[in-house]
Amino acid sequence: MDRFVWSSGLLEINETLVIQQRGVRLYDGEEKGKMDLGTLLLSTHRLLWRDHKNHDCCIAMPLSQIVLFEEQAGGIGKSAKIVVHLHPAPSNKEPGPYQTSKYSYIKLSFKEHGQIEFSRRLSEEMTQKRWERMPVSPPINSSTTSQAGRTRAVGIVGIERKLEEKRKEMDKNISEAFEDLSKLMEKAKEMVELSRSIASKIKDKQGDITEDETIRFKSYLLSMGIANPVTRETHGSGTHYHMQLAKQLGEIMLAPLEARRGMMALTEVYCLVNRARGMELLSPEDLVNACKMFEALKLPLRLRIFDSGVMVIQLQSHSEEEIIASAVDNVSEKGSLTSEEFAKLLGLSVLLSKERLLLAEKMGHLCRDDSVEGLRFYPNLF
């Protein structure tokens, strides 16, 4: 940690921010640093760190100090880390948080994750070495680059060897995984081709195929994740799975819908249902396809798509007229309303409140005043 210097945290001209990550703790070798959690920043020239609580506490280190780095996976109770091996500090280094250190490496502990992206970017910057091509002023201590090549600590060689072995091992595992994956994909491809041939035969024999068989075919496509070759939609509704889902939704969504004036955006429903499930979650398409079956199954819910493209589930009992009438009443009572005001009044989301006002406007009961201050609706007196 003695390679760091105090910094204002401001970037120099020609220095660009590459990525930043919150929730990082710094370790001096194996020892927890005296600093708390902070934000780690990577620029084209330096590695910076700023304390979360005390923004004045900011330290920096030129990237040229870095020899190499390795990733350390997290575990139970342990955050993932990046171990950064460093050149010795130059003698003319500016003051920093540590005068000396017995370690030639630091660890970056990612308490709030983000190590995948950070590691990727750090790797890119270390490869491109943009700091060598884009000088900044005042010059950031980069004098170590040429010297360090000759005065490498013995330990570094050992670490490099270990890294190389680890890389080879990982490469072997990954390539085995990829090899198996390729073989699997070949088989999946056969399934895709088979499904296309069946689909074309079914099309030819239209009318001689029972509905039951069509449903069966669709469910096979569903299992494989193959788009229906005939309709091109990814498993349009009609499988037993979607019928089941639709019925389940018909039961569990009644109370939440009532609590929200009979209407909920599909994204809200998605979150509600999946949070309740915990696992074996629904895909967005599963939800949409199930909702499309409400009418056919005579369930008291309907999928509705507004002109704006917003999709909602609506209780059938809450009729169009009611929605419009209540919107008009509210607006008349208050003189005029924006979507935000209406939302607060009803306890609904701004998105759905806006749709109700738009609907009332479409039917000619409200008119709008559209300015940069917002969209406001008035009773239509024309």
């Binding site: 921010l17 930043q20 919150r22 979360h52 996976a73 139970i76 955050s79 993932a80 994750h113 983000g114 190590q115 995948i116 990727r120 595992n173 995984a177 990829f178 198996d180 994956l181 390729s182 699997l184 994909m185 088989k187 999946a188 056969e190 399934m191 895709v192 069946i198 079914i202 024999k205 001689d208 195929i209 068989e213 069966r216 075919f217 096979y220 569903l222 299992s223 494989m224 994740g225 193959i226 990814t234 498993h235 799975y241 994204t267 998605y270 979150c271 999946n274 074996e280 629904l282 895909s283 967005p284 599963d286 949409v288 704006s308 917003v310 306890g347 609904l348 989301s349 998105l351 300015s371």
Partner: protein, 258 residues
């Protein structure tokens, strides 16, 4: 001597022949479906075998996930189309992305009042990571993008707009055309943009410039700073990097409607 003719008998025979032909037609499809069913079972076994050896890889390696998704796309398979698909059930890819989808929606909803429904991929990434907590799996930006692409099916205006070297994620159904997008890209460097900057960089007339800026103001994607030295500045909250570290305050939270 037997007469061949057009008697009732001949008609009956013809009907019988037709019926037998239809039956064969149905039988043909039945055969094909039976074949597919069998092959599916075989495939399922292969997938199970793969999963037993490499299921961890999917969870642990972002690179592997990318490779996996690309290969599926090449052969015409969508492993994320349904939670009921084999891929989802056996490899667990589904739950990984669907849960991410929930987290993305929640973050976008929580910040909409501030940024109008537009957020940088970086900020979204940071906040999602924070929300996932310490013990969850790390996710890459590529993972987020794939999850967002799936969310589009639910029609709530989820979209991805390239700006500078990164992306803006849109979560409201605002109609953003090429003009809006190009102004967003221009504003990306400093977080704000002025009328004269737009006119000089894009060579637009005043009317077109003001029209686009008005649209952004109306949608709540831009804020006007009329007190800036020189000319008014149009700021985009989605691009404020200082706001990264600011959490939603309790006051803001109580003001928020779902």
């Amino acid at each position: 001597m037997h007469r061949r003719g057009v008697g009732a008998g001949a008609i009956a025979k013809k009907k019988l022949a037709e019926a037998k032909y239809k039956e064969r037609g149905t039988v043909l499809a039945e055969d094909q479906l039976a074949q597919m069913s069998k092959q599916l079972e075989t495939f399922k076994t292969h997938l199970e075998e793969f999963a037993s050896k490499h299921k961890q890889e999917i969870r642990k390696s972002a690179q592997f996930r990318v490779q996996f998704q690309d290969m599926c796309a090449t052969i015409g398979v969508d492993p994320l189309a349904s939670g009921k698909g084999f891929w989802s059930e056996m490899l667990g890819v589904g739950d990984f992305y669907y849960e991410l989808g929930v987290q993305i929606i929640e973050v976008c909803l929580a910040l909409k009042h501030r940024n109008g429904g537009l957020i940088t991929l970086e900020e979204l990434h940071q906040r999602v990571l924070k929300g996932r907590g310490k013990f969850a799996q790390d996710v890459s930006q590529d993972d987020l993008i794939r999850a967002i692409k799936k969310l589009k099916a639910m029609g709530n205006g989820f979209g991805i707009i390239p700006v500078g070297g990164t992306y803006l994620v849109q979560s409201v159904p605002a109609e953003l055309n090429m003009d809006h997008t190009v102004v967003l890209q221009l504003a990306e460097k400093k977080g704000f943009v002025t009328v004269s900057e737009i006119k000089s960089s894009l060579k637009w007339e005043t009317e077109r410039t003001c029209h686009v800026l008005d649209d952004l103001l109306k949608e709540g994607l831009a804020w006007l700073d009329g007190q800036a030295a020189g000319e008014p500045q149009y700021w985009l909250p989605a691009l404020f990097s200082e706001l990264y570290s600011q959490d939603v305050t309790p006051e803001e939270a109580s003001e928020m409607v779902p």
